[in-house]
């Protein structure tokens, strides 16, 4: 499969605001790496089950007991911006 990359779209999906020059630079480097990575397509894998995880484990569950959580003030002390007990951000929605 030939490798083609819409690097501007990828950067937008990743929420990384790159300049035109940076997009061109990373686009070129990604092509080189993907060319090597595409070697995986050379190995026959019909009928092979993909591995997402090295250990065959199912969901870990525990009793639903109330336990101490992180201290709210300690957590919020690291926030770039806050309002009372909330994290504050620029608007998500247009006016």
């Amino acid at each position: 499969m030939p490798v083609e990359i819409d690097i501007a779209k990828v950067a937008r999906l990743a929420r990384i605001g790159l300049s035109e020059d940076e997009l061109a630079h990373y686009g070129e480097q990604l092509l080189g790496i993907l060319e090597h990575a595409a070697l995986v397509q050379g190995l026959p894998t019909e009928g092979v089950v993909p591995t997402a995880h090295p250990l065959p484990m199912v969901n870990a569950v525990r009793p639903d007991e109330v336990e101490p959580t992180l201290d709210r003030e300690e957590v919020l002390s690291q926030a770039p911006d806050r309002e009372g007990p909330y994290f504050r951000t620029p608007p998500y929605l247009e006016e």
Partner: protein
């Protein structure tokens, strides 16, 4: 011998004989750090007050007859991708500059409970992405054997500190070789446990299905000690292994006579420097002379492991690093909308290698390319696991050179990401399979740089892995140390 050069086992014996105190041990590694840090830059943060308080506590409790075990009073370092309550944790990234975590990682809690003295946080490639510790927003770490060379990575600060004696041991994390490769390049022992045996709670995630915390030490015995202290089930990590902790000492000291040791054709030939091959072959001869049977075998899928890794790891990293969005902690740049704020913060906060891998992973997971790249890589992962299982049907352990080359020059590989990636070609397969592996120093090459010998074992096979590693250490008798560790007064 300076106290900073003792093994954990030796230091512990001298603590208990009353010959040295924990405060003495701390003083010894701090003197070593003050001699070497201007050259090496192994540390990002030294927690002077916290370490002194912990050392004084350790002495007081030992004096009261409360002995917390082999790490009691021993000064250790942590890679700066493990969160420490009240101590800045940066992952060597601008995006986390100044972040003070509100909790301790499970491994940190366990080390503290074992009486260890936490010295501080060591340098790494940003978010553990790299093989040279050059991708740090706070400047590179240098190799203690030759400061013109890299220490390897991404746990380069941890490996350099242990090699030079500014820590008795350190924790690293290994996603594609990030414990074993720097250990090899710095001439120390580095071990990646079976996936799931050491909790990842509080390890800032890079690639969750591959990441594993492990020890970097000066002896195999010390690696066993640290592994025992940090290992075991943790309910806070959903991927923590629940089937019981294998006794890593079960086979120690039994030697290699009668063991079948496999040499993997695909993981020993191409691109290996002559000095590395010579040290590897000499070690095989030593093991053979002791009665081990050396078997050459082929694991064809491992030739595809690097390609699969460079799809799986970036894919997982692109998802994991989505949490760095400028909302709850870390760097925030201004923006009119939340998307502008995030895009600007992430552009300024991440360095080039992290940006590259996030983009690569985002692409590999995006609609239309998922099956061809990520899906196919996960199938290759299955084939690698099956190849290893087949091999362990006939041999007890597998061995390889840890790295194809000894420490390369600072700047040598930074312009070509792919050439950097190739330095992990022998370590990556164990991360894909989840199996344990350890690097033991065996020789210096003609340039005076250390060569590592890697022992791989089946999942939960730590006992036989440590058995072979201890035999290699004892039989080869590697005891060189970097000249920098002897430069008393030079700084």
């Amino acid at each position: 011998m300076d106290a900073a050069d003792l093994s954990i086992a030796q230091a512990g014996a001298r603590l208990r004989s009353g010959d040295l105190t924990a405060v003495d041990l701390l003083g010894a590694v701090r003197r070593r750090a003050s001699m070497t840090e201007a050259i090496l830059h192994a540390y990002l943060t030294l927690d002077h007050d916290g370490a002194m308080a912990a050392a004084e506590n350790a002495d007081a409790s030992l004096a009261r007859g409360e002995d917390l075990g082999p790490l009691h009073g021993i000064p250790l370092a942590l890679k700066d991708n493990m969160v420490t309550r009240g101590v800045e944790t940066t992952c060597s990234s601008r995006i986390l500059a100044g972040w003070v975590p509100p909790y301790d990682a499970t491994v940190v809690e366990r080390l503290k409970a074992a009486g260890a003295v936490i010295l501080g946080k060591t340098n790494l490639d940003e978010f553990a992405m790299g093989s040279s510790t050059e991708n740090s927003a706070y400047g590179p770490t240098r190799n203690p054997w030759n400061p013109d060379r890299v220490p390897g990575g991404s746990s380069g600060g941890s490996a350099a500190s242990v090699a030079v004696g500014s820590a008795f041991a350190a924790l690293g994390s290994d996603t594609g070789g990030s414990i074993r490769q720097p250990a090899a390049l710095c001439g120390v022992v580095g071990m990646k446990p079976t996936y799931g045996l050491v909790s990842r709670y509080g390890l800032i995630a890079f690639a969750s299905s591959l990441d594993q915390i492990g020890p970097i030490t000066r002896t195999v015995g010390d690696a066993v000690t640290v592994f025992e202290a940090i290992g075991g089930h943790d309910p806070s990590d959903a991927t923590s292994y629940r089937g019981g902790f294998p006794d890593p000492r079960a086979e120690l000291g039994r030697g290699v006579a009668g063991l079948k040791i496999g040499v993997v054709t695909e993981l020993s030939g191409d691109g290996v420097e002559p000095g590395v091959t010579a040290a590897f072959r000499a070690t095989l001869d030593t093991l053979s002379a002791e009665g081990a049977e050396i078997v050459e075998l082929s694991l064809p899928s491992t030739a595809y492991a690097l390609s699969a890794y460079y799809l799986i790891a970036p894919a997982e990293c692109s998802a994991n690093l989505a949490r760095f969005d400028g909302v709850r902690y870390g760097l925030r740049l201004p923006g009119d909308s939340v998307e502008q704020m995030m895009s600007a913060s992430r552009r300024d906060g991440f360095g080039p290698e992290v940006t590259r891998r996030i983009l690569l992973g985002t692409y590999a997971l995006s609609a239309g390319y998922y099956d061809a790249f990520y899906g196919q890589a996960q199938k290759v992962r299955t084939l690698v696991i099956e190849d290893f299982k087949r091999a362990y049907g006939t041999v007890d352990v597998l061995v390889t050179p840890t790295t194809p080359t000894t420490a390369f020059r600072v700047g040598e590989k930074t312009a070509d990401p792919l050439s950097m990636y190739l330095s992990d070609i022998f370590t990556i397969p164990s991360n894909l399979s989840g199996d344990p592996a350890i690097s033991v120093p065996v020789a210096l090459d003609e340039a005076g740089l250390p060569v590592g010998f890697q022992v791989l074992a089946p999942a939960l096979g730590e006992a036989v892995m440590f058995r072979v590693a201890e035999a290699v250490e004892r039989l080869v008798g590697f005891d060189a140390r970097p000249a920098l560790a002897d430069s008393e007064g030079a700084a």
